[in-house]
Symmetry: C2
Subunit: 176 residues, 2 copies
């Protein structure tokens, strides 16, 4: 998973994968039928883990604060962990969506689910009067998704956690 994050799909050779896993060719090919299958498994694990984090953060406490803390967690991750490594979803989107129908489907589903979680929190926030009803929950959640993916790109160029957090604070202003 981490190797694909840093090097991309095409940029990752079998040898990179062997070094990354510590396995030899034979062992790796007994576990996964081919490179693409391994990538799909990595992508699946990545999205599952991260979406669960997002879901949990978004369902704890008041909607507005929940969104803030969820986005701040991603901001932090984008600045450091992902920084050099990069978000696997962003990478897969730019590199593979136009070539691999299955990856495209997976990514679209991931985005749709993420937006769904965000939308739920926004709907609650709008009901409680915490969040503006000037735009639909759909538009606001799509905007937040855009901010998240944008941070994934920007983070790769070595931003500090403070810089990334400020982006979140500005974005939250749009929900007022």
């Amino acid at each position: 998973m981490e190797v694909f994050q840093t090097r991309g799909y095409e940029g990752t050779s079998l040898i990179d994968l062997l070094e990354g896993t510590g396995l030899s060719r034979g062992s790796l090919y007994k576990a996964f039928s081919d490179k693409r299958t391994l990538f799909l498994a990595a992508l699946d694990r990545y999205t599952t883990e991260n979406m669960e984090n997002l879901r949990q953060a978004l369902t704890q406490g008041h909607p507005r604060e929940a969104i803030r803390s969820a986005l701040l967690a991603i901001a932090k991750a984008s600045a450091f962990t992902l920084g050099e490594r990069g978000c696997l979803v962003v990478g897969s989107t730019t590199e593979m969506v136009s070539k691999d129908a299955e990856v495209k489907k997976h990514i679209k589903q991931t985005f749709s689910r993420m937006q769904g979680f965000l939308r739920e929190a926004i709907v609650r926030g709008q009901a409680e009067g915490e969040i503006s009803i000037g735009h639909s929950a759909d538009a606001l959640s799509r905007f937040l998704l855009c901010t998240i993916e944008g941070m994934g790109v920007l983070g790769k160029t070595g931003r500090t956690e403070k810089e990334m957090s400020e982006i979140v604070e500005v974005a939250l202003q749009a929900l007022r």
Copy 2:
């Protein structure tokens, strides 16, 4: 340029490049010393063209409206032109920044310049009272840059122009 946009750097083979240019190996290698040099030239042309567009849009009319129209133009492009093709800067960022120091430098410079243009417009807007001074021009411009790059990612999954435009409208709320 377009071939690299759609297929990424590693994903583009010489043959793809020959088909894209209509040249044969000999001719292509007489024009560019190697694949990477050609890529660098494509990246340079791409950023030059797009930055000039951005700069012009941002210096026409009132700051707030200038920002709106600049972002709407990018939203439109992200939905269609770039849609299947993808933004070359976003692609290069995710794929090459961690591998190629020169590309990294180029991308950082591009981001820095783009943010500079945005910041100028924001500073003017803040002076005229059109744009909030609740956040620094630096933070606001970084946020807008994040929105732009986010649209580049989201656009690849086939969004309509309307969806992308809404993102811009929400983002503009953050400047209020």
